[in-house]
Amino acid sequence: MPSADAEAQAPAFEPIADGRSACQVRLTLFEGPLDLLLHLIRENELEITDLPVAQVATQYLEYLDVLRELHLDVAAEYLVMAATLAWIKSRMLLPADSELGEAEEIDPRAELIARLLEYQRFKEVADQLGRLPLLGRDVFAPPGVELEPPAEGEREIEVGLLELVEALRRTLRQARASEAMHEVVTEAVTVRERMVAVIDALEQSEVVELDALLCGPDGRSSRSLVVATFLAILELARTAALRIYQSLDASGAPRGPIRVRRVAPAPA
């Protein structure tokens, strides 16, 4: 569709006419089809809310052609958008259905416009996030003291399976006691859910006592909750997301509360 102001529109890419090389092309890299569309809209000083689809579609396809000429892979997403633009363009050419009243006429561009507006918003948010003073880039925090176990005697050791099972048994006994109240509520607890909960608890504070973890967040516990949590902790220990400790007493025997500690992830 030729339009009167066709020459006025700057293409999204242009050969650099400085005489040095005829095949130099200034190519802006885009984050995806929506980003490219926003760029075309900005370049042509168009209103997103009144998008001239035919005009934008032509330039969009020209851009894809340049990518192909440069033997660059055009990602599938760009092709899907090209098809969408072609579809909208054809819909706009069709005469309005006289059966439908004007009010019921749905603008075929509506969904695309909504997506463009939404994407534009988050692009702006991303810009603002990028300008914040980032930890590790713009600001730095003290690394803190090493939380290595202190010397002899009070040293924490990794706990044995027996002590773990003993802790489970103790908590289960308490759970049974509270179940004597006979509350008939079925709650399905999954190990996966409890894994998320344990991780969350360890996000809050690095070291948590095993007993505190086994009880639910509100201190109440049911048999299934305790078992699921116990399995969740074992699973997390297996994947090295946490470690389980207990102190040694003077004679070297494990004693005192069993603690669960978050394993610091390797620095990114």
Binding site: R121, A126, G130, L135, D138, V139
Partner: protein
């Protein structure tokens, strides 16, 4: 405990902690420092730092407090870091922005907004603990839901998610910018003196005529 001593202990705790300290945690360690009094103590510390030109401040981060260096010192501190400085790519920032505002949400929902595949970006954000898995949506296929982490607040220096600008504020900003863009060309045409010899039609500008006269003679 005298107030100076109390403030010194608070400072030491902040200095030695590897992560932001919550008011509750501080109160547990120093019972004389109640949650209620803490705000005032933090302010007093910051006032002291400012008055004496210290290189750091106490910041409220993710519901806790942490000592942080001032941004203008970054160039020197970057030299000190063993790891390359934190870099967040454009796709990473866009994906984080979407997750931060719409969490919890599925990968497909992020992709719908960005218009591109976000698998690799999400994986790297998960690895860097900026995004976490927050369960599943109870629909067929039980897709994974993603949310931001406390680490996200730490890295971006936010006390809470509410510190981010609202989407309405963002929209207003975009509208203002669009309005500015419309006005700008006109404003430029008026403001720019036609001193460009090659292009300026400066017949009616006496001063410029004199100027170009002086230059050519």
């Amino acid at each position: 405990m005298d107030p100076t001593e109390r403030r010194r202990i608070l400072e030491a705790l902040l200095l030695a902690s590897p992560e932001p300290l919550t008011a509750q945690r501080i109160a547990r360690i120093v019972p004389e420092l109640s949650v209620r009094e803490l705000d005032g103590e933090i302010e007093a510390l910051n006032a002291e730092y400012e008055a004496t030109g210290r290189a750091f401040r106490v910041e409220e981060i993710g519901g806790g407090y942490q000592l942080r260096t001032l941004p203008e010192l970054a160039p020197w501190l970057a030299e000190l870091q063993p790891a390359p400085p934190l870099r967040l790519s454009r796709p990473a920032l866009e994906t984080l922005a979407i997750v931060a505002y719409k969490q919890p949400l599925t990968r497909a929902e992020i992709e719908h907004v960005r218009g591109v595949d976000v698998g690799a970006v999400l994986r790297s954000l998960l690895e860097r603990r900026l995004v976490r898995i927050a369960g599943h949506r109870e629909v067929p296929g039980r897709p994974i839901l993603y949310a931001t982490t406390r680490r996200f607040l730490e890295v971006f220096g936010l006390a809470e998610l509410g510190d981010l600008p609202t989407l309405r504020e963002i929209e207003e900003l975009l509208r203002e910018r669009a309005a500015d863009a419309v006005e700008e060309p006109a404003a430029l045409a008026v403001a720019d003196p036609p001193d460009d010899d090659g292009l300026g039609l400066d017949d009616d500008d006496d001063e410029d005529d004199v100027d170009s006269f002086a230059r050519s003679h």
